[in-house]
Symmetry: C2
């Protein structure tokens, strides 16, 4: 069975598609009402985020566009210090898309939402013409999280002199998996796409003060740290030998001349903590789900404002120093 | 200037695009923080909705995809009895899209958000390959509204015997405008796309009890009323001569054999009120912005449960009766 333009009409075919695929997998008492909006319990302070996912291929080693969409949105909420609660699902399907493939993706979204502890409360489906070879789909997930007002504010403006940077795991896995898949290279590299709730909640439970955190996706660590440096007017120093990169990914990068610092991940965060908490934070992250390869990779330096140098410096393995700039140009398109 | 794949990389080009187009128009203190999630004030009960917009052409008589996106999401929130507060903007751009056109669409979103009293708090941008002739864009808007717990619950399950159905204006304008535009027909038909906040808040201010309401979009009035009849186990009777349709749209429909009952609108709602409130509700709607052509078009009949007949009947101008079924097949694709 294939998706046809009639599935996007808003009539009987649309209802059948929603019933047989989306409602079947997402089933919950809120979504089942099928109203224009989902009405849910709120909170006095909320975090709101949105992400569209256009990754190709739709299914890749270690995940698929559905798992990616839920993880991406859940992680964005977590990075603001929120507890993820609700997710929306806006699906744009290309005419000719295989309905079994759609079923697999939507099932994966449902499983990932259950793993991450979020409820998919409302959705929308549209169909567009297929103008390429392989009919694809685009998924938008928006998310709402609750913010506990007792938690400290989190953001790069909180970065302090001496803060340590912890990366929660190996760099570049998702990017390398997508690229390898597109190039038809057989290897054992898998996307890291994963929800980071266990890591964040374990840190919070143990009272670790997080000054800033962000998931390291499109644009890679280099882009995130430049944004941190600019927003905080800090200098950030990294140590190349501390950057965790899986052996297969390192070899893959060497072969293609890629730099893991600019490669996208979908289950990694950079978490900044006060210097005195760094060891404890590292051990909590390492014993959390998806955090086993975490490492302390650098330090924040806050100079007096008149000598402020908001830059990111990499101390290389050979003892040199190199400025890590913003990524220019294309990167790898349609990675997420 | 055209959109390139580099605008979707997450690096410097993406930042520049966001700064020069999205941030410029959407400018507000929440969005300006550029965090992974927007942190905003919440409420104890909230409504959540999502919609993707794939309309072609991007700009049409009476509106554009940007205005449509904001109106569609704001109206979905209003229909649940919520006060619309926050909107997200997920843009998927095709390579080669004209940046001036994007600027126009995003400016239109900002103006419509201001008109509707909502804040655009967070966004996301992706770029995909252009595989057709004319590069397009897809916009997802998700929305959050606050629900006043003092307001009665709204939904088709509240429909009662004798309730009157009020349509807030002429049927079919958006559908006819899009179709005319695609066929290159010159006429004066304009899309009705508009936010319905003035109508709904005026009814609420005057204490009109609304049993159910829904905006009449894709699938048309026929589809919405069938959903109402099924959910409420009611019979709904419509009067053909009461259905308001603009003269130009009526002529256009006659020419093409279209039925306004199944045509999509983007600034019309069907509002159900108790019989005794119908006259007052009609006059409030008619004196509200975008409600001047409102009309009472039918009645709800709730029989005893063992003779329940959940159907929609049209009393024709010639005195006959016709069942208004669900819309089957394609309808007009990419209308919203």
């Amino acid at each position: 069975m294939k998706i046809t333009m009639a599935h996007g009409s808003g009539g009987e075919s649309t209802s059948a598609l929603i019933r047989d695929i989306f409602s079947k997998h997402f089933k919950n008492e809120i979504l089942d009402k099928m109203e224009d909006s989902a009405v849910v319990e709120g909170s006095s302070k909320i975090a709101v985020t949105t992400d569209s996912f256009v990754v190709t291929p739709i299914v890749f080693p270690g995940g698929d566009i559905g798992r990616l969409a839920v993880c991406g949105t859940v992680n964005d909420l977590l990075m603001s210090g929120a507890v993820p609660k609700y997710i929306t699902c806006g699906a744009v399907l290309e005419e000719g898309l295989d309905i079994e493939l759609l079923d697999r993706v939507i099932s994966s979204m449902a499983q990932t939402a259950a793993e991450a502890g979020v409820m998919i409360v409302t959705g929308d489906t549209k169909v567009i013409e297929n103008r390429g070879d392989e009919p694809g789909l685009i998924i938008n997930t928006s998310g709402i999280g609750f913010i506990d007002e007792k938690n400290d504010a989190i953001g790069p403006y909180n970065l302090g002199d001496g803060d340590k940077l912890i990366i929660t795991g190996n760099l570049g896995d998702h990017h390398a998996a997508i690229l390898g898949c597109r190039m038809g290279i057989e290897n054992n590299i898998k996307s890291d796409c994963a929800p980071l709730g266990d890591i964040v909640s374990n840190l919070q439970k143990d009272g670790i003060g997080i000054s800033a955190m962000r998931d390291v996706t499109r644009g890679g660590l280099g882009t995130v740290l430049n944004e941190f440096a600019t927003a905080s007017k800090c200098r950030i120093e990294l140590f190349e030998e501390e950057l965790p990169v899986d052996k297969s990914v390192r070899e893959f990068c060497g072969l293609l001349g890629l730099d893991p610092i600019y490669m996208g991940n979908e289950g990694k965060a950079i978490i900044c903590v006060r210097s005195e908490d760094a060891d404890r934070a590292l051990s909590i992250i390492r014993s959390s789900k998806y955090g086993e390869n975490a490492a302390v990779i650098g330090t924040v330096y806050k100079e007096s404002s008149d000598s402020a140098d908001s830059s990111v410096i990499l101390n290389t393995k050979l003892g040199g120093k190199r400025v890590v700039g913003l990524m220019y140009g294309e990167g790898l398109p349609r990675i997420c």
